[in-house]
Every structure is written in C-alpha cells, then in structure tokens.
C-alpha cells in the first residue's frame, strides 16, 4: 500500500536487546531473594512485563504464585514476598499494611520491594514512617524502555504527563536521562541533538552529565543513530487533542491500545502488529475498507487454489501455506470486526460533524458554528471527556477561555478539573488580569444563557489573535490544496488529519531537521514561549556514517499519538529515505490527556 518497505531505507537498530537486558536484570533481582517466593505485581506493570517475560521464566526463578497489588489483604502463605511496583506512595502504604499485619500476628517473612524503573526517596520515607524500613529490602529494576515496535520505544509512564506538566514534578527527568544514556551505551553517541521545551532541555542536560560521568564507555563507538530530537508535549497540545483518523490512531481512540495490544471487544488481545496491520496502520481510515476487501479477495484466491490440487500438492499446501493463511484469516476477521465496531460507534456520535468542527477550529473559520456545536455537544451529554477535549481545542486554537457550565452536566468535581486544565495550559487564558476575567465571565454567562448564538460575540470581541493561529500561519500548518486531497496518495503529513492540518509537532521536527538548526525559526520559537528552551548541539561528525545520519530518534516527553507517529513515518519515507525512531514516555491520545487532568479521590 502506501508505505512499502523501501530497499533504500536505512536499517533500524535492533531494539530487541532492550528486552533481553530488562529480562536479565529482573532475573538477577529475583535471584537476590533465593528460594520460593510469591510475587505481587502492580497492575500497570503487568502488560509491560508480559512483553518481556512469561510465567515459566518467573517460575524458573522460584516465583510460586502471582498476585496483583490491590487494596486487599494478601492471602499468600509464602515465607517470602516480593513486590514489583512503580514508586508510588499508595504502594508503599499497601506493603506497609501487609508487613505490619504480619508483625501483629507475630509472623516473620522476608520482603523485597523491586521498584521499576527506579526508587524515589519519598517512597523510602513512607517505609521509614510506617516502621518497616529495614524489614523490607529495596531494589531497582531499571526497565524503562519497552520496544512496542521496530521503531517505537515506550517508557510506559503515562503519569509523566500529569506529574510534570500539571504538578511541575521533575522526578521522571532522571528516568528519561538514564534511558537516553542506556541508548547511547548500546547504539553509540548521537552526533546531532535538537530539542524544544523546558523539560527537554533539562532532560538533555541531565543526560549529558551522565555521559560525562561515564566517559569512555561511549567513546570510540560509531554512532548508529545520527540525530536525536527532544520535544515537550506542551509545545503542541493541539495535535494531541484532535480526533485521529489514521487507522492505528482511530483504533486507539476507539478501543485503547494498551502496551501494543488492543483490548477492544473484538480484537481480543491480539498484538497490533501482524502483517495485515502493518500495511494499514498508517493509512487514512477511508482506505482501510478497500484494503481489507482486497486482502479478503486474495485470501479467497489462495484457498481457491486447492481446487485443482492432487494429494501431494494438497499435502504440501497444508504443511507449508495453511498456517500462514490461517493467521492472515484470523487477523483479517479481527480488523473487519474492528472496522465494523468503529463505524457503529462513530455513526452514533456524529463523527462527521465532529471532524468538521475540529477542522473549522484548526483553520480558524466559523467559530460561531463550532462554538454552538460544542455547546450542543455538552447539552447532549455525549461524553464528558469529549466535551472537555473540544473545549480545550477551542480554547487553545482561539486563545480564549471557553469555559462552559460543564459542572452542571458532569458533576461539580469538574471545578477541580478546570483548575487543572488551566494550570497545565490546556485551557488558555487570553490575557492576564482584568481582560481575562471580563471575557471569561461574559463567555460563561452567555454559554448558560438562553440565547446561545451570543457567545460568538464574546469571541469576536477578542481583538488579540491567538498564538496558535500565528504559528499555524508561520509554519503553514493548513495546507493550501487545489482540487481534492487524495488520501490514497498522501502529499504531505496533513493526510493524518484528512488533509486539513499538518501536526505542529511534526512540522517543527521537519523544519529543524531541514535546517539542521533553529535558524530562521526564532519567531515560531518565541510564539511557542520557548525562547530559552530551543537548543541544538552538534558534535563533529567524522565518525558518523551517512547511514546513521538517516536515522532520527524523536523523544516525546509527555506522550505522542499514533497520528504523529504515522505522520513522521510518512515524512521519513517521503523525504530523503530517512527513518524515524520514536521514544515516548507513553503513547497517548486526547482522552488520556483529559483523564490525566481529572481529580479522583485519593
């Protein structure tokens, strides 16, 4: 289909060794507690763990029973308990309750806590406060890079987004720096570094310090990956807030792909890889049906060949081809099922209308209609997360606070969510001080007002145009197209949004790589409020092969979407036979961003 593997594309580094390393280290740690033990695993670590180890490996290292870490008393009768957890306070309290219950019952066991990817001092402090410091031994399992695909590494840290972008907690920056350090140890130094965002800059500096510490280890190694680009999620919220229409993104929006597996009702837990999927994942959804029908026809033809076969040929067929065909058949039915389910869901929620509104917001025309659409969306109680998302999109693209009386509809707790959205910059404020409050109260009053149309007057009175609009203009994010945009033969990265919008994050990366610096992008950087946080760092390239210079590692701090991945995959293949590799703190989408901002009970 659109992205056949081109023979001239550079070869990707072998990331499977990351899995092996993680597994080796885990085994090493399990052996630090010799003898039979029960293992308690945090729910969030289960899927990543599944991708690098299995039950029999754990059994080999004397893990007897497996339990999920949840707020229930443990039934384990083992003499040794091992906990595999994220460094979270609530996990420490859980462990403390188990240990203290044992102490009360006069029972002595051995306890070991393995923190992944690292331990935090605050956790140890809780262990100390609970009086069990010393009763439990602590270790770290530095498993922070999970290859989800040949070109996609995930840190599986969705909490990075909230912790850093909402709370301003820099606890994961060291984890990122360690991960980058590991990559450079394994795959050689990165000769060209670029970055934008405050977090990107800090992670970069911390990483550089690590490299200096361990000087010599990467020295003399030939770089395998020529460029690295670090980018903060808050540089581009808009892209992450849009509805996705490339297949993989749409599947993620609809069913949620978790750790490379889809947990939708129809897809079961099939791995999202597989031949069929590889060919359609980056496609605009409109091409998928045609592709599937083509595949179905081919499959049918393959089976048809059996008609004229004699016994020997048949035997051959069964032993050699049948397995592959069966696998393909299974994948095909999965994807057809998924498509049906997507269509059903999207028809129900007026997807067409929704997309139209989003495009209007991106292009900045007809704000009145978009605003009333969003208002109606809220009134119809379609979904609180969706409504929040649209409001954030409206607010950022128009640079005005579009607060509606959401709490009326979705419960008063949204008061807290709003405050969070504002702090994270997902709901923007037009100007500080009086202007803001005036506009805001006017807007919110009008939204609850009977005369819905009036809200637009409030918006049209915003004299100042938003930064997004200016950035969009500067970077030409809304492509000018004569005639129709043929989604079958994409002409630019905008295809991931039906030809309406080039993802801002991807455009920035494209521009910087083209110039190999930020030169000429000063105005854009200023509009992004990143004047102090856009950097480049080039080392001498004498050792970098031309092959390596065609590989670019993009690091998304705070998450990236499948649409962005598809767009950059397209860019890599389209322009100069390059190949992008993705490192993200987690794969994200608009719903995950919104959910990360809501408050739940402690």
């Amino acid at each position: 289909m659109a992205f056949p593997h081109r023979p001239d594309a550079p070869e990707l580094p072998d990331f499977s060794m990351l899995k092996r390393l993680a597994r080796d280290q885990l085994i090493y740690l399990l052996e630090q507690l010799p003898g039979k033990k029960d293992l308690f695993i945090e729910a969030d670590l289960m899927s990543p763990l599944d991708r690098i180890a299995n039950v029999s490996i754990l059994k080999q290292h004397e893990v007897d029973k497996l339990y999920k870490v949840e707020n229930k008393p443990a039934l384990s009768s083992s003499e040794q308990l091992c906990f595999l957890v994220r460094p979270r306070i609530k996990n420490m309290r859980y462990i403390a309750s188990l240990v203290n219950a044992d102490k009360l019952a006069g029972r002595t066991r051995k306890y070991k806590v393995i923190f992944s990817p690292q331990k935090f001092y605050a956790c140890e402090m809780v262990l100390e406060e609970e009086g069990i410091y010393g009763d439990v031994s602590c270790d770290e399992w530095a498993f922070s890079l999970l290859p989800l695909d040949v070109d996609l590494l995930s840190m599986e840290l969705p909490e990075f987004f909230r912790d850093y972008f909402l709370e301003g907690d820099q606890r994961w920056i060291n984890t990122v720096a360690q991960a980058l350090h590991l990559l450079s140890t394994l795959y050689g130094p990165f000769p060209n570094c670029y970055g934008i965002g405050r977090c990107a800059k800090m992670a970069y500096e911390l990483w550089r310090n690590l490299e200096e510490e361990e000087d010599g280890e990467t020295k003399g190694r030939r770089p395998e990956i020529g460029h690295i680009f670090l980018l903060d999620r808050d540089v581009d919220f808009v892209t992450a807030l849009c509805s996705q229409v490339v297949y993989e993104g749409l599947v993620d929006d609809t069913f949620r792909i978790k750790c490379g597996k889809c947990h939708g009702p129809l897809l079961g837990t099939s791995h999202m890889a597989g031949l069929v999927f590889n060919e359609i994942r980056n496609e605009h959804f409109s091409n998928v049906f045609g592709f599937l029908s083509q595949k179905a026809r081919n499959l049918q033809a393959q089976y048809d060949r059996r008609r004229g076969m004699d016994i020997k040929q048949m035997k051959n067929f069964v032993s050699q081809e049948l397995k592959g065909l069966k696998q393909e058949h299974r994948l095909l039915s999965l994807h057809i099922g998924a498509c049906e389910s997507i269509m059903k869901k999207k028809t129900k929620q007026d997807f067409q209308e929704l997309i139209k509104t989003e495009h209007a917001l991106l292009e900045g025309f007809n704000i009145r209609e978009s605003t009333s659409y969003i208002e109606e969306h809220i009134d119809r109680q379609v979904s609180p997360i969706e409504s929040l998302r649209l409001m954030c999109l409206l607010s950022i693209t128009e640079n005005g606070d579009a607060r509606c009386s959401l709490d009326t509809h979705y419960g008063p707790e949204h008061l807290l969510t709003f405050s969070n959205l504002r702090r994270a910059g997902l709901l923007t404020e037009q100007a500080p001080g009086d202007t803001l409050t005036a506009v805001e109260s006017k807007v919110s009053k009008l939204v609850t007002d009977k005369a819905a149309g009036k809200i637009t007057d409030a918006f049209s009175s915003l004299a100042k145009r938003s930064n997004f609009r200016a950035i969009s203009k500067k970077l030409n994010l809304i492509p000018r197209v004569d005639g129709e945009y043929d989604l079958k033969v994409p002409r630019d990265m905008a295809y991931v949004f039906s030809g309406a919008y080039v993802p801002l994050s991807c455009r920035i990366i494209e521009q910087v790589l083209e110039r190999r610096s930020w030169q000429g992008l000063d105005e854009v950087v200023r509009l992004l409020n990143c004047s102090d946080f856009a950097f480049t760092d080039m080392t001498k390239e004498d050792k970098a092969s031309s092959e390596s210079l065609r590989l670019i590692l993009v690091v998304f701090l705070g998450g990236c979407t499948f649409s962005e991945i598809s767009a950059l995959r397209f860019l890599g293949r389209e322009k100069g036979k390059r190949e992008f590799i993705f490192l993200t703190t987690a794969v994200t989408n608009s719903a995950r961003l919104m959910e990360a901002m809501s408050e739940v009970k402690a």
Binding site: K59, D169, E217, G268, K488
Partner: protein, 517 residues
C-alpha cells in the same frame, strides 16, 4: 472439513471493488465557499454513515472472511497464540494473576503443564550479552547488589563523608567532587539520612537545595525538601520556597501525595494563594463517602475564597446534594413499599446521590414528572433552583419522557399557546434533534413522522425522513418540491405493492402536478 470447503467454494464470487473513497475532506477555499463545500456532492468526503457503499464493501469482506471460517476453525490452532476465556493469552503473566485471584487454592497442575510447554531452555539459549551492553556496565553505580542493607553499612561508607563537607569550597570545585557521587542517586539518597544532618546552617541548607534544583532531578529535590521540612520551621521553609518556584512545586506535589492536607493548606495560606487554598480544601470532599458528612463538609466550603463563579458552583453543589439526600430517602421508601407504579415498572438502577445535576433532572423527569412545583423532587423546581437553561431542560425532559414512551408528554413539551388560544409547535433545540432523540428511543413511525414534518429546513427534513423511513413525509416533500426524479428514485426503496408505492404511482401519473424535472 468437506462441508466447510463446499460452503467456501460456493461463496467464491469476487468482492465488490469500485472504491469511491479517498476524496479529500477539504479544498482550498475562502469563508464564502464553505457552505458549498460541505454540501456539494462533488467533494463528497468519506462519511461515517450507515448507508454508504464503503460499509457494504466492509460487509462483503466480512462475508467472504466468514465463509472461510468453517474451514479454518475445524483445524486445531496449535501454533497460534492461545487465548483464555478472559482474552488473555494463556501463560501470560496477566492471565496467571487472574488465575491466582480466581482460585486462591492454586491450580498447580495447569501451571505445571505450562512449565513444561514453555521451558527455561528457551531462555538459557539466549546469546550472551556482548561487552557493549554487559550487565555489569549497565548495573554499575545503580543497584549495587547486597550493599547497604543496614544503617551501619551506610554509616561506614565513604561516599557519605566525601559528599557532605564540600560546601565550603568554591563552587566550581564543589561541583566536581559533588558530581562524582550525584549520579549515584542510590548512594546519595541512602546516605543522606546521616549525611544531610551535617547541613545545619540555613545557608548550607539553601545551597543544598539550589544544588539539587540545578541538577533537575525531581527525586533529589524532593529528598532535600523532606530534609528541610524536618529541620526548618514552617515559616522559614515557606518563606524560602516562595522565591524558589521549582522547589515549591515539588513540595506542594509531595504534600498532596502523602496527604499532608494540613501543611498544604498552611502553605497556601502563607503564600496567599487563596483560590488554591479553597480548591484544595474543597477537594477533600472526594474522600468522604457518607452523604450526610459530605454535605456537611460542602457547607464548610461555601464561604471559602473561590472565584465568584466557582462560589456559585460550590453553593449549587451543596444544594444539589442536600436535595438528593431528601429525594433518595423518599424514593427508597416508595420503592420498597411497592405501592407506586412507576417504581414497580421501572426499578431504580442506582442511587441518585452524588449524580450530576443533569442526571438528577433526568431522574426527576422520569420518576416525578407530574409533581407540583412545590416539591423538592419536581423537575420544575430543579429547573428554577439551579437556573437550568430552557434548552437543557427540554432535551432532558424529552429524553426521559421518550424513554417512558409517554408521547403525550412529549407533545405537550413542544406545544405553546399564543394569546388567541391557537396552539403552535416550537422546539428550542430544533426539531431535527427532537427527531433524533425520539428515534434513539424507538419511537413509532407515526410519532417520528409528526416531528420530521416540523423540521423547517427542507433538505434536513428529507434526509431525516429517508433515514428513518418516514415514507409519507418523503413522498409529500418530493411532491411539494415537484421533484419527479427523486420521487422516482424513492419508489425503489419502498416495499413492492405497499400503500406507499401506490401513493407514489398515483402522484407520478397525476396530471395536476407540474414537475420541475
């Protein structure tokens, strides 16, 4: 298998090809073109619409694939991933945990089998790591096995000593010796219990904090803050953090995480961040389960310094919960008494406590629609108390009454009388929405028809009528539009020999109509 094969061969006709997709969703255009753009069929975009060819293509693919199923399924799938009833692959860790949870007495046999299936040998055969990524280089300086299990170990360790007394030196020099150990956060954190105690002067403490901040590692910043919190008075700590925003945010997050609400509120008070103070206090209600206690708590929030707008919401939140408690007690009683028809016919699925306002309104439109305005549970009372906009009210009431199939109530909702006593139908949400909601609630065609007819825009009306099979409306509208072609096309969509077909035939042969085409 033979049966499957026959089935398979029979379905061997080619699948529908003709793909009419791929039309872009946008064109270069100005504002003025917009209308035309969205409506023009020339730019017909891919649509998520049931009736489309795309979907029929999908259906055909499905048929083809399903036809292969019989054939494929009767083989055993030994080589394919085995999936348990819960959807987890058998042998996976997630699956195994569910097993433990479901059957705490353990299902040993099953796992023994797995053990032999998936033996350790596969692991043992892995290539040995090469020197570039040896375990030792990877582990170095991080998790040092077996070290520092006890306090005495830590005390006797040298890094603690070299780490602490460097502050007297010039900055550059300090930095160097500092950096020898800072990477080794394991050391630093473990040792600071003893080592940080040496930072006793305020100046040393602040320098330590600044050093931590300049490293960018949040874990280290928090570690230092915990030390400062323990060794400085609240006022001094707060005062110093006020000018150190990065550190301040770390402390706030730390206090939130460990749930030290008291100190957090003190901090906000000190910083004069009144709104955050109020929100933080308000947030506590999420942790109170008991409705009466929660209500009492919300009462304490009312006077807090929220923004003017938030204040109103807090007041509403309190009033709403107060109402819900009354309604809940009353309705639970009615329901258990079994005397009220509505509760017998439609038992409540959940308590109304802590539900959003609109859900409460829906509930009251469902169970208490006819009540007089004076009662707390009447919809009109809710509308007034919470100043619910008309549009919202109508939408909610419509959904509730349609669900109960109370068509008379639906009718009354949109009927207005003018001063002369004439009645007129009016819908603040637009009749197209009304039709959609009615359709979702499986309203009969006669009812749907009535409301489709009230849609003002002719195109919308025609679309809706076609979509919901309101034949009469389609036919009449075509007649009114004098659109013979469309009527002719529609004839193929109605049942053969039906009254609709007769009606269309009568119109088509009528000489009274001057068709436009």
């Amino acid at each position: 298998m033979s049966c499957g094969l026959i089935l398979f061969f029979q379905s061997g006709r080619p699948l529908g090809a003709g793909v009419r997709l791929g039309m872009g969703l946008r064109m270069n255009r100005t504002k003025g073109d917009e209308e035309e753009y969205w409506n023009s069929s020339k730019f017909k975009a891919f649509t998520f619409d049931d009736e489309d060819d795309e979907l029929s293509q999908l259906k055909e693919s499905k048929r083809a694939v399903n036809s292969l199923r019989d054939f494929v399924d009767d083989d055993d799938d030994d080589d394919l991933e085995r999936v348990s009833w819960s959807g987890e692959p058998v042998g996976s860790i997630s699956w195994s945990i569910k097993e433990t949870a479901g059957n705490s007495s353990s299902s040993h046999e099953g796992r023994e089998q797995l053990k032999s299936r998936n033996s350790f040998s596969s692991y043992a055969q892995l290539p040995k790591p090469t020197s570039t990524y040896s375990l030792s280089s990877f582990f170095r300086g991080r998790t040092r096995p077996g070290s520092f299990q006890s306090l005495s170990d830590a005390l006797s360790d040298t890094p603690a000593k070299s780490y602490a007394p460097e502050l007297g030196r010039p900055k550059g020099e300090y930095r160097v010796s500092y950096s020898i150990h800072w990477f080794d956060s394991f050391h630093m954190l473990f040792c600071q219990v003893c080592s940080l105690e040496r930072f006793r002067s305020l100046q040393d403490k602040l320098q330590l904090l600044e050093e931590a901040v300049s490293m960018h590692d949040g874990n280290v910043i928090t570690a230092v803050l915990i030390f400062l919190k323990r060794t400085l008075s609240k006022e001094i700590l707060f005062r110093e953090l006020e000018v150190r925003q990065v550190a301040l945010r770390h402390l706030i997050h730390f206090l939130k995480e460990i749930g030290d609400q008291k100190l957090l509120l003190d901090l906000f008070r000190f910083l004069d961040r009144t709104e955050e103070l109020a929100l933080s206090h308000y947030r506590e209600h999420l942790n109170i389960q008991d409705p009466d206690k929660r209500k009492e708590f919300l009462k304490t929030c009312i006077g807090l310094p929220f923004s003017a707008e938030d204040s109103a919401h807090i007041q509403d939140h309190y009033t709403l919960l107060e109402r819900q408690i009354i309604i809940e007690a009353n309705d639970r009683h009615l329901e258990s008494a079994g005397q009220t028809e509505i509760f017998r016919k439609h038992p409540r699925k959940a308590s109304i406590l802590n539900m959003p306002l609109v859900t409460t309104l829906f509930y009251s439109c469902f169970y208490h629609y006819t009540e007089a305005e004076g009662t707390f549970s009447s919809p009109v009372n809710l509308k007034k108390t919470f100043k619910i906009p008309d549009k919202q009210y109508v939408l909610t009431a419509l959904a509730a009454r349609a669900k109960l199939r109370a068509w008379n109530d639906v009718d009354a909702l949109f009927t207005t009388k003018n001063w002369l006593g004439y009645t007129k139908k009016r819908a603040p949400i637009g009749f197209h929405r009304v039709v959609e909601i009615l359709h979702k609630n499986n309203a009969p065609v006669q009812i749907l028809q009535e409301y489709v007819n009230l849609v003002e825009d002719v195109d919308t009306k025609l679309n809706l009528a076609t979509k919901f099979k309101c034949h009469d409306v389609v036919i009449d509208t075509c007649r009114d539009l004098k659109d013979r072609q469309q009527l002719l096309a529609y004839r193929s969509k109605v049942d053969k020999g039906s009254a609709e077909e007769e009606k269309i035939d009568a119109l088509l042969s009528s000489s009274q109509i001057r068709w436009k085409n």
